[in-house]
Structures are given as C-alpha cells and as structure tokens.
C-alpha cells in the first residue's frame, strides 16, 4: 500500500459561469477542462458513471463524499474510455480496497487525462446547481491557474449544452455484433447514440443478437441486419438536433421499437412531442418511477438533462396512432416513459440496464422480447 502525501497535490480551482468559485486540490490530471456542471447522487458506481457516454462534455460533481474506495477494475466500465469532461469529488480514496481492483481511480483519471478537483464543499456546489440550474464550469490546476477573472472569461467562452449534437462524437464508428447468450431468439439493430456496455449485454442475456450500428446508420443499414426489433440507446446532447428519419421509418414499418434515455426523447420527437431542458436534470440511482399501468414503483437509474413534454392526463394522437405516457417520476412528475397503443413501440427516459443502479426495471427488456414475439406470431 502506498499513500500519496497531502503536500504532493497541487491547488486547483473550479469556476462556474455565474462567477461562483471553489478552491480545492487537483485530482486526476493537472490542467484545465470545461463542460456543463451536473451533479450525480449515486453512492456507488463511479466507474460506470465515468465511462457512460451520456456524460460526454459534462463535468460531474459527486454528492457522495468518498470516491475511489473500490479502485478501478477491468469489468465495470460501460465503454472503452472515461467520457466525463471533468470530475469533482470531496474525499478521494488514498488506498483502494476491493478484490477486483487493479489500480487507483486517481491514476486512472490521470492516465486518461481527465482533469478533476477534490476537497471542495460538493454539497454547497450541488445546492448552487439545484437553485441556479446546470451551467458551464471550468476546472483549473497547475499551469492553467490564473486570476479568477481570466478563468471566468474562459468558462464563458466554452460551448453550451443546449443545441449540442454530440451522439456522433461518442458512438461507434463501425458496426459490431454482440452475440446472444445461449440460443439465439431475436436479432436487434441497436442505434449507438452513446450506448453503454451493459445494454447489449442485457439483451444478449435474453437470446438477442445485437447489431450495434453507428449513430449515422441509415434505414437501409438498419434493415440490412434483418432485425426483429430496433433499439435506440442513450446518449449525450440536445435531442432537438437529432435526425429522426430512421425512427420514422421504423415506426412506419411497425418494427418493434424500444428506446431508452436519449432514445426516449427521439421517439417523443418523432411522435410530435417537444423536448426541453430540465433545470438540473436527474442523475442518480434512487429515482422513484411509477409504471402507470400497474401502479408499481421501481427505483431506477437516471442520467438525463432533457425530458419529453407530453400530456400526463390523456392519450395523445400522433402520426403513428395513439400514444400515452407510461411512466412518470414521482419526485417531480417528469415524463419517464412513452408507449404507442397502436404500434409496437415504447421507450423509457431512464436506464433499465442499470449500470450503475438497481435492477428493478430489467423487466423492460422482457417487454421488448414480448413485443418481438408478438410481432412474429
């Protein structure tokens, strides 16, 4: 066990676009970074969070004070790299402890060039973001440090999240196939808008062969896989910027469709609903979502800054028949799921693959296979 000494960590400063700043110590890489400041309330699963492509261009504030306790292992990442633009923690672990741990989180962040800050009042920062909303932020350490006015000006020059088209930046460039575990029952074409590793895995467990396609895949490329169903993944950015041609085609052809997170927003837009930016989003693994058909509550993993604007109190008419809001978040009544009543399509705003997070919503993958089964019959 080696321990880094206190004096070895360099000073760092975090500057928000509204001028508030926090002084702490460098964590991970030394340098500078910019992004949208968001907070995540999960107490476990930092490895999954860091590698979730939906966090691309975001600086993530961890509300849990101790981060890095279980180190970094080779099994839990959700993609091939860390996506967060910056990382904010209060008390980083000095010694990781877990039988699967291979290296420390500090080293991993540094190795991947992720600039972070530690030792700040993360609760004060979280309360600030809650009251003022998500906003741009910069983290500076080492040679990037300068007087606060200069730093603030640089934060204000960074691009905003609204209007950002990011799926193309995080998605795979080449198609690949995740084979079914055991007997193959279905083929699914999954559009990678920022997909997490656990998602195709959850489908493969159910006998689905998953063809993961680039975000730019055309309808022809989708149907070239002879899919029983089409899956729309999660991903970063503003759904208002996305191209909906493929989705419309899939709806038109009545191919079973399942979307999650960003995919839910795209389905919503394809149906003619609006999307909007939440004040500070839902990011955590403790969100109560109610399935409005059964009344049951599931505790779910969330990571979304945008949401669908659809009426809760009635069934809506859409170009593809009647649609209803199937799930809502009980904390704030935000739309968490959509369902077409006349065509085989549904989506949820949260993460049934749940990495990190509780497995309560895993049944949604079963619902998808049932749709495909029904379509076949």
């Amino acid at each position: 066990m080696t321990t880094s000494t206190r004096a070895a960590t360099a000073p760092a400063v975090l500057v928000l676009e509204d001028g508030r700043s926090f002084r702490g110590r460098a964590y991970g890489a030394v340098g500078e970074t910019f992004g949208e400041a968001v907070f995540s309330t999960g107490m476990t699963g930092y490895q999954e969070t860091l590698t979730d492509p939906s966090y691309h261009r975001q600086v993530v504030v961890m509300t849990a004070p101790h981060v890095g306790n279980t180190g970094v292992n080779d099994e839990d990442p959700e993609s091939s790299r860390i996506w967060v633009a910056g990382y904010v923690v209060r008390d980083p672990a000095r010694v990781p402890s877990n039988w699967r741990s291979r290296r420390s989180l500090d080293d991993e962040l540094a190795a991947q060039g992720v600039v972070g800050i530690s030792g700040i009042d993360t609760r004060a920062l979280t309360r600030h973001l809650r009251e003022r909303g998500a906003m741009r932020v910069g983290i500076f350490s080492g040679e990037a440090l300068a007087d606060e006015e200069t730093l603030l000006a640089r934060v204000r020059q960074a691009p905003e999240m609204t209007g950002a088209d990011l799926a193309g930046e995080v998605a795979t460039e080449r198609p690949y196939v995740v084979p079914a575990v055991g007997e193959k029952r279905f083929t699914v074409a999954a559009l990678d808008l920022g997909i997490k590793g656990m998602t195709p895995h959850r489908m493969a467990e159910r006998g689905i062969e998953v063809h993961v396609l680039p975000a730019t895949a055309t309808a022809e490329e989708v149907y070239a896989t002879a899919p029983d169903g089409v899956f729309l993944s999660n991903g970063p950015g503003d759904p208002a910027t996305a191209d909906l041609t493929v989705i419309r085609e899939v709806l038109e052809r009545r191919t079973p469709l399942f979307g999650i997170c960003f995919g839910n927003q795209l389905l919503g837009r394809a149906l003619g609903f609006g999307t909007y930016k939440l004040k500070y989003g839902h990011r955590g693994i403790n969100q109560p979502v109610q399935d409005r058909a059964t009344g049951k509550v599931e505790v779910t993993a969330h990571n979304h800054g945008f949401a669908v604007d659809a009426p809760l109190d009635r069934v809506s008419d859409t170009p593809y028949g009647r649609a209803e809001v199937s799930h809502v978040c009980l904390n704030d009544q935000v739309v968490e799921g959509l369902r077409l009543l006349d065509r085989p399509a549904f989506s949820v705003q949260y993460h049934p693959e749940a990495a990190a997070g509780p497995h309560d919503a895993a049944y949604l993958f079963d619902r998808f296979t049932q749709l495909m089964e029904a379509q076949r019959a």
Binding site: T3, Q47, N69, N98, P288, V297, D332, H359
Partner: protein, 1103 residues
C-alpha cells in the same frame, strides 16, 4: 390505495424494560408508530411495562397499559379493549414473541384480532433458522445469488457434538433460536467451549434449538434495511458496513453508513438478494433488516439472518438517513403504499425512493464492563454493549472522531501523546475484539505497524485501516509543525480532531486552541440531513457539523432554548433522562419557544427530527456545544441552555458554559456546585439543621483511614462527581479500604474520595421535587424496598410510600424545601434520604432531573419534567397550577388514600455476562448501580403492584412449588414471618443447614439440602445447585454474606440466572414477594390503563 377502513383500533406492544439488545430504539419506533396511528384516527391501545418511555405517556396512545408484556396480561387487555388489529413489529423480539404466543394459544382468533405488519408464517420464516435457510436456497434458485453458511440444527448435546464433524471441525458458531440480541450465541474453538455455549443455548432457546455453523470469522459484514408495501414495492433505506469484521455482534461493532467498500455490482447483488428475501419470507408490509457476510477474497455472499420487524439497526438507519422507518411501517400496516406517503424531510417527494447520503455516519457502541469486572470483555456474537453514540460528518474521519468523543468515556478518543507501547504486543491485543480495540489499533500504528500488519492482525478492511493512518498522519503533522498555522489546523478539524486532542498533541490548553481557532475564523458549518444529497430542498432542520464551507442554519425570530441531551445510554444514565429532555422540548415549544435539541444517541426519541424545532446530532462536549450555541446565536435570540434534564453529562458542562458567556437557565452552575461539592453541601445541611451520616473527604489512604477510624466501619466510599454509584462500595475493614484507594482511578487531588458512615438497616427514600425559588411542589416520595446501601437505581421502590406515615412525609417535605432553598434550585431536585432509628438522614441531593422523574410522573399523573422546563425559564409553581400543568391543589406528598400504588423494579443484565472461564457473573446488589432498565407495576394495592412489577421484569412469581432459602445471619430474624407465609401458600421449603435450623426452631418445616461446597452426599443426595439446574426449585431466596461473594451463594445465584428462576437477594424483597404471592392467589388480577388511573386520581384530588 388509501388506508384500510375495517381497522378502527390497534393494539401496539412495546418492548418492555431496557435490556442489553433491546433498548431505547423501541421507544423511538413505538412512539412514532403510535403517533402515526393516532393521527390516522385509529384508537391506539398500548401495552408496555417500561415507565421511562415516551410511548407510555398518556397522550401518545388512547389507552396506555403499563402492565407486564406476557401473553397472560396482554390477553386480559385484548379481552377488555377488543382491538381490531395487533401490530407486533415495533416492540422488538418481546412483542413478536408475545404476539406469536397469543396466536398459538388461540387468543387472537377468539377475539377476532388481526395481526398486521407481519403474518405468523413470515415471522417464523424469518426467525426460525432452518426455515430461513430454505428461504435463502429458494432465493438462490431464483436469482443465482446468496447462500447460507453451512450449518446443522441441533436439539441436544449429542446432535451438537456430531454436528462439528459435519461442518469440518472447529471453530464453529453456536446460535440459539428465538433469543434476542443474539443471547447465548458464541464461537466455540474446542469441545469444552462448545459444551458450555451450546448447553446454555439449548436452555435459553424457547424451542431448545441451536444452530451450529461454519466459521466466517473475519469476513466483511453488511446490513441492509428494507421496506415493502402491499403492492410489493420494495426500497432499500440504508446500507450499513461494519468496521469490525464478522465475529462481533453488529450491536457491538463500529458501523458505518453508507457502505464504504462495495462496487455498484456488489451492492446491487446484496440489494437483489435482500429484495428476493423479503418477498420469499413474505413480509407483507413494513421494514426488515438483513445481514450479509462477504468474503473479502472473492466476494462470496452469505446471508446471515433477517429480522422481520423494526430493529436497533432500523432505528440507526432512520437517524442516519432521515427516513423514518417505524413511522412509515405503521402507515403501511394500515393500508397505505410507499408512493402515497410523503417524504417528511422534503415534503414534496414520496417515500417510495431510496435515500442517498452526502455524508458519512459512524456508530460506536458503549460498554459497561467496568460495572462487571468479573465479566469477559471479549466481543463475540452475543451483544454486550449497553448503548451507542452516532456521529455524522462529511467524511469518515470526521464522523469517526466525533463518534468516539460522543462516547464521553475516558480513553475513548484517540490519544497521540505518550509512548504507544510495543508494536507486536499491540497488534496481538488488537487481534481480539474488545471494547476500545480501535484505540489499540491506533496505538499499534503509532508504534510503527504497517497497514498490512494491521489488516493481518484484525481483518479490518484496508480502506478503513488507511483512514486510521490518515488520522495518524494529521496527528504527526500537528506534532511536528513549528506553529499551529491555519492550514494545518483547518486540515485537522476537517478530519474530526477535537480542540482537546489538538491541545494534547501541541501541549496547550484546550481553550487556548479554541481561541486560536476562533481568531483564525476556523469554525464548523452545519449541514442538513435531507435524504436526497441536496437534490431537493429540505424542510426539516436536522443538522450536523462539519468543517466545510457553507452553513445551512436558517435565521429565526422566536427565542430559542437549547436542550442538552444525555448522550449514549449507559448504566446509570439511560432513557429516563431522554424522557425529561423530550418533555422539556414539548413544553417549551408549546410555551412559544423554538426548541433546539442537542444529542448524539441514535436510539432515542430526542434525536427524532420530529421532536424539537431543530435537531443538532452532535457530541455533547464543551467544544461542540459552544459551536452550536454560536451558530444559534447568529441565527436569532437564544433564551438559554437547559443542562439539568440530561443527567450528569450536561450538568458537568454547566460551569464551563457559563464561564464562556452562555446563559444557563434554571438552577445556576453555582447552585449545582453547592449540591455536588461535599463540603459546600455539608454547609447547606448544617445551616438548615439537617443531619447527614458522618462523613469526610480524603485524597489518600491515610486521610481516608483517619476518617473511617473516627466514624467507624462499615463505611460507604465513592469518588465525587459520578453518576450511577460508579466505583461506590461498602467497605467493612481497613484492608479493603487500602485496596479500594489503590485501585481507584477516579481519585485525584481535585477529585477526592468521599467516606460516609454506612447506615445499616435504614429505609431509603427518594424524593423528586420542583422548586421555583419560593414554592415547593413535592413530586413524589418513593420508599425503597431494599434497605439503604443498595443503589437506588437497582432497588425496587413503591410510590406512595407503603410504611411511612404523615409525620414522616411532613419531615421529608420540610427537609426537601430547606435543601432546595439552601442550594438555590430552580427546577427539579432529587434527594435521597435514609430513615434509621427515627432519624432522617440526608444522603445526597441532585439538582437535576433524576432517573425516577418518568416513574413519578406516571405514578402521580403529573408531568414533572415539563413543569421543570417551564420553571427553568421563569414560570412559577403557582402559575403552572393555574395553567393546569400542575394540580390546582395538593402535590405528590398528599396523594389521596385511594391513589393506586406504583412499584418500580430494576432489571439487571446478569444473564448477558460470563467470566473468562465461561461461568456466570455474581448477581448481588450493591451501592454501584448495575441495572439497565426498569418496569412499573401499578394497581390498587401493594401486593398486586409488586407482583406485576416482578412479572414485567423477570417473569411471574411462583404461587406454589419449592422455595430454597439461604440467608446471612443478620437476615435470619427477619426471615421468620415471610417464610411462614410461604408455607401457608403451600410451598415446600428447602434450606441450607444453618437457615433450616433457625426455621425449624420457629416451627417452620424445612428440608435441608447440601451446599455446593459440601458436594454430592453419601447416598447421592444432590447439592442445591444441581437441584436448581434440574428445575426442581421454583423460588430462590439468597442474601449475600457480606461483600466478596462467598462461593456457595455465587453458585446458587448464577444457577438461578442460567435457569431463569426468580432469585431474591434481600429479605425485604422476600417480604414484598410474599405480598405479591398473596395477591396472585387471592383472585383475578385486572388490568387498568394509565388514563383510567389518572381520571380516578384527578376525581379524588378534586374532592
């Protein structure tokens, strides 16, 4: 789905007296539940024999029965009240077992009472080890995770011995079925240990069943608290990780929330197993606790056990998260679902979520081994701690250091001064879990141990070990620095160092460090426990301190009163003091103040965020209290701080608070000193012309000897400024006096030893009174059943007094008033008197709420603590009489003749402790308090009330059978009448030769039995100890032969404890028991609620 409409009345069963493993947490849970049910419009019927609880306050339930929690008495209550439903999951194992008995004997069916919150099948599946193993297997089949430790069920010693081979040899774990707090369980490393532990386990288990299990010693231990509603919605409220690895009962472990060393995958596996278990067991609605062991080498998960009810851990989880498990369990039991219940803290979001924490919670146990010097202090799977403290910080080190200082025990905080000792010896010592092991680990670190060495010796997770190294590095930095610079100081505070610790390291005075710190502007901020890591705004001001940047204390306009609580429960300072603090909070809130509670005990009602306007979950040290006072002074006007209700802990801070400019309301620190300081108090008595036993104070043996020689042996010796008779002893000769002084650690130049003449054969009397500076209100007069010399907390007592006349009461009143006036009391005072040879001696006075305040309040139906709080802030007795808080006329000294008699009986923890050889510890009573709790019996006459108190405390008095009697010579004369009465009741008497001779000479037949020391007789006649073990004896009377416990008595008394046979250790108790047996045999004993007693009393008072 709204609440059920078919339930209109609910019977709630409490947990009875405070015992190890079942403490104040059930008052917290039960109080919450009763309040919720009442607010839902249900008629709430409550039974609990423990008067020191908030839940037995008459306003909490509609009908409050302070009656024994036995199937017999509860059946009487059911027959009288006819409740629609019975909620058994909030009163611990006692309530659950009672409910199961009432189900099995058909009472529930007969009266059509529905069990809610848990069904019998689920209770059995959760509690029965074999059934639970089946549950775990079914879960594994469904989700592929979770297993049980390999084990065998045994019903006899033969099964047990054979079982060890099946499991692959020693060590093995022994767990008796259906006992609470893991009573009777332990590790056996060889056959001798196995025979002892399993033998006792078979006896303790109501089903004569023990489980033998493979050893998972040293694995990581976790707990999850879950809740389920009738729609099968399940949430995990909290995860808890034990700092101490497997092998130590979770109640005795340092525990941490949330879990610190699990990845999400591993945590979700535990969550999946937990949810599958609660479903498989079939807990319909409510909370449950599930414990896991995780192999640190490969993550293998073993499900240890589950409790299908609210537990100590769920109380801790509620305090740790702000999610009130008991309150929500009660709502779920009457038909609501989680999504229909709002989250109290945010008001806007529902309870169907999982709290997320942005802080760390550490709980540390408090032990009382100093009270039981013979007991083995090794920690095992049997719980031995008597209380706990919890602390919250923004990181683990801050929370841990705060928790350790919350224990308020010498040596509980890390000490970085002096020589740590030998590294290897310290590591070997740390290998065995004991009270204070964490301090041994720190000493080993100071002595140069490496993290690997610490882990190898203790199996404490490397992350936690590193945190201890982190603390140590800060201590080193403090010690090495040239000066106390701001960054150094701020860093130390961020990791929880107290001013006192920093002072010790730097060789400064604590107040100097504080001054420097304040000058540098380094002060704590206060953060909110909000269930959601700040995602939503919180409505509830539930605070903890941290050395962080932003404070969340809101300004206020109303004047605040800060009430200092009593800290962790310990013997001598328990739930009774919490009761008074809670009452003060209620009364002062009603009187227009904003009440601010400070306490660090997670078991209590005072630390429920619902109790006061603001709650600070903080240690009760001078430093922590001063910072809170500062923060509240910044927030608005502060009317004062109340120190006289939380026992000795806050009382000890009074002078220092005043010296720091803090307004202490009520009895002044100077007045407190007058009562506490022996010399000063002697002058108060002399001025009032009141006699005290001859006494003196000394700081050395020669001084003490001179005093003892002058006043004559026996003498009562004790250190000054202690509670619960700590270190108090009756000394019969000079040799013992010398060794007492040599052994005592509490005696120093400024803490002298007090030497008093010991009054033999005196009647001891306790008085609780209110004084406002002009008028006295005599709250109650309690006559002890045991003679003076037995600590008042361990003695049974009766109120109103049963043998004192009007003249005695008059003398007591005059003396009490003279002392209250002389000392300068403004609020409550408790005085102990001894009546010997018609002289009324004053033994001591305590200018604070006493242990008996809740008992007196309930027995006389007058809220004394509420009145005391009001008087502290300037109200007069006359005003409170006019308001109706106190009776318009009369007081506790003028109770009407038809007032009910209340008997308080102490409950002692003997059965919990073993010495290192595994034998029981002796059960004799003495001047040092050792009881953990108390019960109250209330009825029209003394005999019945006494019988109820015994049934509530130890199990019913026998009405027939064999009584064994063996008494000291001085008790023989007093024995004759009660012994004759036993014969008249048809008892057969057994006696040792000396006692039998006396009895026979007085015409009382008694069979001589052999003493243990005489061994088995020539014709194979068994000794008395063998007879007791064989269940041949129903009642034991054995008074000790002086101190030191002669071996025969010791064997008899420990055998009685092991077999659970009533054992009376004073002749006075026998006399009372005879009256109780009279009452039991002379007819049906009824039950009566406190509300009924009160309305009768009020009616009589009005005449």
């Amino acid at each position: 789905m709204p609440k059920r409409t078919d339930i209109r009345s609910v019977l709630v069963i409490g947990s009875g007296p405070i015992v190890i493993g079942q403490a104040a947490e059930f008052d917290y849970s039960g109080t919450q539940a009763c309040r919720v049910l009442k607010s839902e419009g249900l008629r709430v019927i409550l039974v609990n024999s423990n008067p020191a609880t908030i839940m037995t306050d008459p306003e909490i339930a509609d009908a409050t029965y302070v009656e024994p929690i036995t199937p017999e008495y509860v059946a009487k209550i059911i027959a009288k009240e006819r409740p629609d439903a019975l909620l058994p999951t909030l009163g611990g194992q006692t309530a659950l077992n009672t409910a199961i008995s009432l189900h099995e004997d058909g009472t529930l069916a007969e009266y059509g009472v529905e069990l809610i919150g848990a069904n019998v099948e689920a209770i059995n599946k959760g509690e029965d080890r074999e059934l639970f193993k089946g549950v775990v297997e079914a879960v594994r089949a469904k989700i592929g995770h979770g297993e049980s430790a390999r084990s065998v069920i045994c019903h006899s010693m033969e099964d047990v011995l054979a079982g060890v081979d099946t499991l692959g040899g020693y060590p093995v774990v022994v767990r008796p079925s259906f006992t609470m707090g893991g009573a009777g369980s332990g590790f056996a490393h060889d056959e001798e240990e196995l025979r002892r532990i399993a033998g006792q386990g078979l006896t303790l288990s109501p089903t004569t069943e023990v489980l033998l299990e493979e050893s998972i010693l040293g694995w990581k231990e976790y707990e999850l608290e879950l809740m389920r509603d009738k729609h099968d919605n399940v949430v995990v409220v909290c995860s808890i990780e034990n700092f101490d690895p497997m092998g130590v009962h979770t109640g005795d472990s340092i525990t941490v929330a949330p879990a610190m060393t699990l990845t999400d995958r591993e945590y979700q596996t535990l969550r999946d197993i937990g949810i599958a278990v609660i479903r498989e067991v079939g807990v319909d609605t409510g909370g449950c606790n599930i414990q896991f062991a995780v192999n640190p080498e490969d993550g293998r998960v073993i499900v240890i056990e589950m409790n299908p009810r609210v537990s100590r851990s769920s109380a801790l989880a509620s305090k740790a998260t702000g999610f009130p498990i008991a309150k929500i369990a009660a709502r779920l039991a009457v038909g609501y679902t989680l999504d229909e219940i709002p989250n109290d803290i945010t008001q806007k979001t529902p309870a169907s979520f999982e709290p997320t924490l942005d802080y760390v919670v550490v709980k540390v146990p408090r032990f009382a081994f100093e009270k039981f010097p013979a007991a083995d202090a090794t920690l095992t799977t049997t719980m031995k701690s008597v209380g706990e403290a919890m602390a919250i910080g923004r990181n683990f080190t801050e929370a841990l250091n705060k928790a350790l200082r919350s224990l308020e025990k010498k040596g509980s905080q890390f000490d970085f001064t002096g020589e740590p000792g030998d590294k290897d010896e310290l590591l070997a010592l740390a290998g065995v879990p004991t009270d204070g092991r964490i301090n041994t680990v720190m000493a080993a670190i100071r002595a140069g141990a490496t993290p690997d060495e610490v882990f190898t010796a203790t199996r404490i997770d490397p992350w936690f070990v590193d945190q201890l190294f982190l603390i140590h590095e800060h201590a080193e930095a403090l010690a090495a620095a040239d000066r106390l610079d701001p960054e150094l100081l701020a860093d130390a505070k961020r990791h929880g160092f107290s001013d006192a610790q920093i002072a010790a390291i730097r060789g400064l005075r604590e107040d100097v460090v504080r001054e420097v710190r304040h000058a540098l502007g380094i002060r704590p901020v206060y953060k909110t426990v909000d269930t959601c890591a700040a995602e939503f705004a919180a409505d509830t001001p539930y605070f903890y301190s941290s050395y962080d940047e932003e404070s969340e204390v809101a300004p206020r306009t109303k004047p605040a009163v800060i009430i200092l609580g009593s800290g962790p429960n310990r013997i001598g300072q328990g739930i009774e003091f919490d009761y008074s603090c809670v009452h003060a909070s209620f009364a002062l809130h009603d009187a227009g103040y904003e009440t601010v509670m400070v306490n660090c005990n997670p078991e209590t009602v005072s630390t429920d965020y619902d109790t006061s306007d603001r709650l600070y979950f903080e240690p009760l040290t001078l430093e922590d209290v001063l910072e809170i006072v500062h923060a509240e002074t910044q927030a608005g006007p502060v009317a004062g701080v109340i120190v006289q209700l939380g026992g000795q802990t806050p009382l000890g801070l009074a002078q220092a608070l005043k010296d720091n400019g803090v307004p202490v309301v009520g009895t002044s620190p100077e007045a407190i000193h007058l009562a506490e300081d022996r010399g000063a108090f002697g002058r108060v008595l002399a001025e009032a012309g009141l006699p005290a036993p001859k006494h003196g104070t000394a700081t050395s043996f020669p001084g003490a000897k001179a005093i003892a020689d002058e006043i004559g042996y026996p003498v009562l010796v004790r250190p000054s400024y202690v509670l619960g008779g700590r270190g108090m002893e009756i000394v019969y000769d000079e040799t013992r006096l010398a060794s007492y002084i040599a052994e005592s650690t509490e005696i120093s130049a400024d803490r002298p030893v007090l030497v008093d003449r010991f009054l033999d054969d005196a009647i001891e009397i306790d008085v609780d009174a209110l004084y406002d500076g002009h008028e006295l209100y005599l709250g109650g007069v309690m006559e002890h059943i045991e003679e003076a010399g037995i600590h008042s907390g361990d003695s049974a007592c009766a109120l109103p007094p049963i043998t004192l006349g009007g003249h005695d009461i008059k003398r007591l009143r005059t003396s009490t008033e003279a002392i209250a006036k002389g000392v300068g009391v403004q609020g409550l005072i408790n005085i102990q008197f001894a009546l010997a040879g018609d002289i009324l001696y004053v033994l001591e006075a305590n200018p604070r709420a006493s242990r008996t305040v809740p008992f007196t309040s309930k027995a006389t139906a007058v809220p004394l603590a509420k009145a005391a709080a009001r008087i502290s802030l300037g109200a007069t007795v006359a005003e409170l009489r006019a308001e109706g808080m106190l009776p318009a006329t009369g007081d506790g000294g003028t109770l009407p003749l038809d007032a009910p008699i209340s008997v308080k009986e102490a409950v002692l923890p003997w059965s919990r402790f073993r010495d290192v050889q595994g034998r029981g510890v002796d059960t004799i009573l003495g001047p040092e308090m050792r009881s953990t709790g108390e019960v109250m019996g209330i009825d029209a006459v003394f005999g019945t009330a006494y019988a109820k108190s015994q049934a509530g405390a130890y199990g019913a008095l026998p009405t027939k059978g064999r009584a064994f009697i063996s008494v000291a010579n001085r008790d023989k004369r007093a024995l004759i009448f009660p012994a004759r009465a036993l014969i008249e009741h048809g008892f057969e008497l057994l006696a040792t030769s000396g006692t039998a001779e006396v009895l026979r000479r007085n015409g009382i037949p008694a069979r001589v039995v052999r003493k243990q020391s005489e061994g088995v007789g020539p014709a194979g006649e068994p000794t008395i100890v063998t007879l007791i073990h064989e269940g041949e004896v129903d009642l034991i009377v054995n008074t000790p032969f002086g101190t030191g416990g002669r071996l025969d008595g010791y064997d008899i008394r420990t055998a009685a404890v092991a077999r659970g046979i009533p054992c009376l250790t004073t002749v006075q108790a026998l006399a009372a028991a005879v009256q109780g047996i009279d009452a039991l045999t002379s007819g049906e004993i009824g039950v009566c609620s406190l509300q009924e007693h009160a309305s009768r009393l009020t009616a009589s008072r009005g005449e």
